[in-house]
């Protein structure tokens, strides 16, 4: 079977190239001593955990392997006001670490942090080599939190993370500044939206010109998917009212699907948008609003005073239903983010096997089994991720449809 052998060869070559490109991006270079920012290899060799977390996180720089594309920074600190500048001003080096501090903001691992100490000079300040140290500190409630310190001119400055809305539960909380920057995820999101708009407006024109003609070109590709979502998701759950909610479900499905796929394409930065809890939370929030705005009298009655059950059960049901009201979007949020992030982590780890096996380039004998393992496993994982991308987009849409369907259902 020459065809399949050729294909296997091609895939192997492809993975070799992939490993070559992703390698440096993931924190591994053989001539690491040349890059002054390289810290992982100088101390403990290749660190797959750090690489993986670096990869799945949202960043203030779009790293394409060969280029660090700067993104706009929009930062607000209550004590310092609004600051807007390009993240290129940080002088982004390897690993997304900035060479400069700008108005007491620094870029660590592609993420902006703030120097709280007012004694640090404002404006653009050149930093030393390897200025960042990471320390684990115990907080008052006993949980460990990691804190980054910056050394500059012999002094050590504590760096604040950006504010998060978890109230400290997930190691975040409100800090001295808010980051409203256009991050890698937002750029990817907008690109995906523009792509979808372009494709759909193009095919929509054909439907408007003459709705009766047979589909052609990109239309023939999109129409079966469109009809599938309409007939398998919208109609069964929403019944006669399906046409009203169809655009929303389509928007959800195609946006999630496109972003899932964009995250899987190699060499374009593997943005983890749908794996980001904040993004999925925004989607689930919109679903939550759509569901509850359209809730009928029967729906609210079922939620707060369930008919048809004994009176003493009713308060218990109310509590359960009330929790369920919020649990539904939370479940939507977590499922999508967890699935996509897990996929990203698995792929990065499988590709990392190569660097673990050859001991970050020190052990050439380990390269062969490493390459073999990482190629086969990463290939398998990518195939799996294509299915997961489809399934998760579908699941998010079908669950949204079922929640809306339950809310608009009339009393029976």
């Amino acid at each position: 079977m020459p065809m399949s052998r050729q294909l296997t060869l091609k895939i192997s070559l492809f993975l070799l190239v992939l490993a070559g490109i992703l390698g440096p991006q993931m924190g591994f270079t053989q001539d690491h001593h040349i890059d002054s920012d390289e810290k992982d290899l100088t101390e403990e060799g290749y660190d797959p955990t750090n690489t993986t977390l670096h990869h799945i996180s949202d960043q203030n720089v779009y790293s394409l392997g060969f280029a660090q594309i700067p993104l706009p920074m929009i930062l607000y600190a209550p004590e310092d006001g609004l600051k807007m500048f390009s993240s290129g001003k940080f002088g982004i080096g390897h690993h997304g670490n900035g060479h400069y501090a700008v108005d007491r903001y620094v870029l660590v691992e592609g993420v902006v942090r703030r120097i709280t100490d007012k004694s640090f000079p404002g404006g653009k300040v050149a930093l030393e080599d390897h200025p960042y140290t990471f320390q684990t500190e115990s907080k008052e409630d006993g949980a460990d939190a990691e804190v980054v310190y910056l050394s500059h001119n012999g002094n050590t400055y504590r760096l604040d993370n950006k504010s998060t809305l978890d109230g400290g539960v997930l190691g975040g909380g409100l800090t001295s500044f808010y980051d409203f920057s256009i991050t890698k995820n937002i750029v990817t999101m907008v690109v995906a939206m523009l792509l979808l708009l372009w494709v759909f407006l193009k095919s929509a024109r054909r439907y408007k010109d003459n709705p009766l003609q047979a589909p052609k070109g990109i239309q023939s590709f999109l129409e079966p998917i469109f009809i599938f979502i309409r007939d398998e998701v919208a109609k069964p759950f929403l019944g006669a009212a399906y046409l009203k909610y169809l655009p929303f479900l389509m928007t959800l499905f195609f946006l999630i699907l496109t972003l899932n796929f964009i995250g899987q394409i190699p060499f374009i930065g593997n943005p983890n948008v749908t794996g980001n809890l904040t993004f999925t939370l925004a989607l689930a929030f919109v679903t939550f609003i759509v569901v509850n705005i359209n809730g009928t009298k029967a729906y609210w009655q079922h939620t707060f005073w369930m008919p048809g059950v004994p009176t003493f059960v009713k308060p218990i049901m109310s509590v359960v239903e009330f929790i369920g009201l919020f649990l539904k979007p939370i479940v939507l949020t977590l499922r999508l983010a967890a699935n996509i992030t897990a996929g990203h982590i698995m792929i990065v780890i499988f590709v990392s096997l190569l660097f673990i096996f050859n001991n970050a380039g020190q052990n050439m004998a380990g390269s062969a089994p490493g390459l073999l393992l990482s190629s086969v496993l990463a290939m398998f994982m990518m195939a799996l991720e294509i299915i997961v991308s489809l399934v998760q987009a579908f699941v998010f849409t079908i669950l949204s449809a079922s929640y809306i369907g339950a809310a608009i259902e009339e009393a029976h």
Binding site: D58, I74, G171, D179, L197, V286
Partner: protein
């Protein structure tokens, strides 16, 4: 070196949330208004059109089948009618021929009968004529033969007449 501080994807960030929500709403508005609604409506329209076309086609087929059945039925009827007509015509014609034959025979018989009567009459007339002539001849002859005697003798004349009467030309 463990950099969990990086792991920001699990923490809801106000900035990312704000932009995600904003861009999602804009995107939803635009693509729903300019793409999904027109496409959904066009699909409904096209499906109705196809449904109608299919119904029309099946109706037309039914109609065609009906017409064909009607045609077959009419053809059959016509065939039966034709057969009947032909049969009747045949009967009629044979009857006519039969009648004509009969009539011709009768006519011929009548003609022959008339001819016989005529012949009989002619014959009778001819006989009467012959008889008269014979009588006249006989008388003439007798007169000539017995001019003298017979004219006086009454008995003689009577005898001759009797004789003439006896001469029956049969």
């Amino acid at each position: 070196m463990f950099v969990l501080a990086e792991f920001n994807i699990l923490r809801p960030e106000p900035g990312l949330f704000f932009w995600s929500l904003l861009f999602f709403l804009i995107f939803w508005f635009l693509i729903a208004k300019f793409a999904f609604k027109p496409i959904a409506n066009a699909l409904v329209k096209r499906e109705n059109h196809i449904q109608d076309a299919l119904l029309d086609a099946s109706k037309a087929k039914e109609e065609l089948r009906r017409i064909q059945e009607e045609n077959t039925r009419m053809m059959d009827e016509a065939r039966v009618l034709r057969a009947e007509l032909i049969k009747e015509a045949k009967l009629q014609s044979s009857k006519m021929i039969e009648d004509a034959k009969e009539k011709a025979k009768e006519d011929a018989r009548a003609i022959v009968a008339q001819a016989n009567v005529e012949i009989e009459n002619q014959k009778k007339a001819a006989l009467r004529d012959v008889k008269n002539q014979v009588t006249a001849l006989a008388l003439e002859v007798s007169e000539l033969v017995m001019k003298k005697n017979l004219s006086e003798d009454k008995e003689q004349v009577q005898l001759v007449n009797e004789l003439v009467d006896d001469i029956h030309l049969s």
